[in-house]
């Protein structure tokens, strides 16, 4: 099950939970590296879960399905990490935001803009970066994270 247009709807069986399924983190990041941002969507209450997971925190249902997400959305809140974890030290200050995508899914990410240029309501677009271009201390990565891309939002 590597397709983003899979019709798999939970409850997931053990056979659905493999490293090439976006229901797992390796599968999610593989899809992201190919430019597809995947969420789980609850077929009961329409809550979007990003990254995908086997059950809905909104209503408890396991009837979740995969849903490719739009790359654009708006800033819900933002700040600047002036004193980041040591692996990110040289990147400080890091602008980060909570973004609500046009689908209603939400995720946190860095914003490629200085703090003073960002405001609540700003339109942004998600860009996927090769981890090597982001310049985070490689020691930060766990062994299985090394190939995972990093996402960054750009102001539109």
């Amino acid at each position: 099950m590597t397709d983003t247009d899979s019709t798999t709807t939970g409850p997931l069986g053990p056979e659905d939970i493999t490293a090439d399924s976006p229901f797992t983190l390796p599968g999610f990041f593989d899809a992201l590296a190919e430019g597809r941002l995947m969420a789980a969507r609850c077929t009961e209450c329409d809550t979007h879960l990003l990254p995908p997971r086997p059950a809905c925190y909104g209503c408890g249902s396991r009837a979740v399905t995969l849903s490719e997400q739009p790359r654009t959305g708006e800033v819900i809140s933002y700040t600047s990490v002036n004193r980041p974890p040591s692996a990110f030290d040289h990147l400080a200050p890091i602008t980060v935001a909570v973004v609500e995508l046009d689908s209603s899914a939400r995720l946190t990410g860095r914003v490629a803009a200085p703090l003073e240029d960002v405001a609540i309501g700003d339109r942004v677009e998600l860009r996927v970066c090769d981890p090597e271009t982001v310049d985070i201390d490689p020691d930060f990565d766990l062994s299985y994270e090394e190939e995972w891309p990093i996402h960054v939002f750009e102001l539109l």
Partner: protein
């Protein structure tokens, strides 16, 4: 003996697929239920100290057991709240603390929910005593946060946030709370200065708390002029990195009555806890729902309402938390939590007359992560037994504690305590 209060209520078998499950329902027998009491409390010095974690624990234990028999004669179980093994490269904290207390071959467990670990230890101790599993349990918490400097603390605390998307974006504790604060300022009439006044109030309260890390007042200009840590949060919006430990003895009716050297005990009237989302992005940024559920559950368990609470210790790891928690605990109308700094007569309609963070809160008393929930209990114990000195709130007989871990209410434990008359 240990399980005398449970009986098997139902036994059944259920065929599911190829397997058959035997179902046994255990129900609680209310005739065995005990009330849980706090019979003694202690804390270590708070701040940057020379003492490692186990020694900080020893000081808290020594205070709690002053005038009492040996811990081994009083308690038969232990829970220790400890956020991270990164600080001292030590897990097995349950065994270690039990050993340092002279307890041997008793259940002793570390519990973890980042900064809610301390209240989680208390909750588990209360549950065991109420259920009759143990007659008395030691709930303690310890954290040696300065062991790796500011960098070590930042990295250790970072583990509390969602790994795949949030940690890998460089997020920190102040940054996640800044995301809440920015949105709070956007949705309400509150200003950065209103948040700053919460820090001023808590520093003022700590002046009269001999346990506090910062027994000194700060003025609003100092707060507003301080460097930004994660805008809109500035240095004084953030609780400090603190070494510290706390210990609380939780006992049933019989043990509490036996230890007549401490007649002024406090009753644990209600407990609630809730886990919400880990990722900040997936929260309601201005309503800490999990804290509201935990507080409501504790109120219901205690048979009280928000208006009955005289004093509250709420988790002001960052100033905005105190405003959000005042609302979640139903002390304040939505958007008006910032009036926590006002005297009750000056607050908006819909506010209760509760006094919040008389200890100085996490901001000024100090925030040794795993110990914080128990330091809140120490303050409530002193308020409810009339031992709070210049901080004493007149006629305080019901207290609420709210201890949180992760981003805001990723995990919340709420506890209602009442004075034993």
């Amino acid at each position: 003996m240990k399980h005398r209060n449970y009986s098997v209520a139902a036994v059944g078998a259920n065929s599911v697929g190829s397997g058959t499950k035997l179902l046994i329902s255990l129900v609680y027998d209310p005739y065995g239920m005990s009330t849980a009491h706090l019979i003694a409390v202690g804390s270590s010095p708070l701040g940057k100290t020379d003492l490692p974690g186990r020694d900080l624990f020893s000081t808290a234990l020594a205070e709690a057991f002053e005038g009492l028999p040996d811990p081994a004669e009083v308690v038969d179980g232990l829970y220790v709240g400890a956020q991270s093994e990164r600080y001292e490269n030590q897990i097995m904290q349950g065994t270690l603390m039990a050993e340092w207390a002279g307890l041997r071959n008793v259940p002793a467990e570390r519990v973890e929910a980042c900064a809610a670990a301390g209240a989680l230890a208390l909750k588990n101790a209360v549950r065991d005593v109420r259920a009759g599993v143990h007659d008395a349990v030691l709930a303690c918490g310890v954290e040696k946060m300065t062991a790796g400097g500011t960098e070590g603390a930042t990295n250790a605390l970072g583990a509390a946030f969602e790994r795949a998307l949030e940690q890998r974006s460089g997020i920190t504790a102040p940054a996640t709370y800044a995301l809440l604060a920015r949105r709070y300022l956007h949705e309400t009439d509150a200003t950065e200065r209103d948040l700053g006044r919460i820090a001023v109030k808590n520093h003022r309260n700590a002046v009269d708390n001999p346990r506090a890390m910062f027994q000194q007042a700060v003025d609003i200009d100092t707060v507003m002029d301080a460097p930004g840590v994660a805008p809109p949060l500035k240095l004084y919006d953030c609780a400090p990195v603190t070494d510290g430990a706390a210990a609380v003895v939780v006992a049933n009716d019989e043990v509490a009555a036996d230890l007549q050297s401490r007649p002024d005990t406090v009753r644990v009237a209600g407990v609630g806890s809730a886990a919400n989302n880990l990722a900040v992005a997936e929260r309601d940024l201005t309503f800490v729902e999990g804290a509201n559920v935990a507080a409501s559950t504790a109120y219901e368990d205690a048979g009280v309402g928000a208006a009955d609470i005289d004093v509250a210790e709420v988790h002001d790891a960052f100033t905005v938390c105190e405003a959000l928690l005042a609302e979640a605990a139903e002390f304040a109308p939505k958007g008006r939590g910032i009036e926590t700094v006002e005297d009750p007569e000056d607050r908006s309609a819909g506010w209760t007359d509760v006094r919040i963070n008389t200890s100085g809160g996490l901001k000024a008393r100090g925030h040794p992560i795993g110990a914080t929930g128990l330091l809140q209990a120490v303050e409530a114990y002193e308020q409810l037994t009339g031992r709070a000195g210049k901080r004493q709130v007149a006629d305080a007989d019901t207290a609420l504690l709210i201890n949180e871990g992760g981003v805001a209410d990723a995990h919340t434990v709420a506890t209602v305590l009442t004075a034993n008359d």
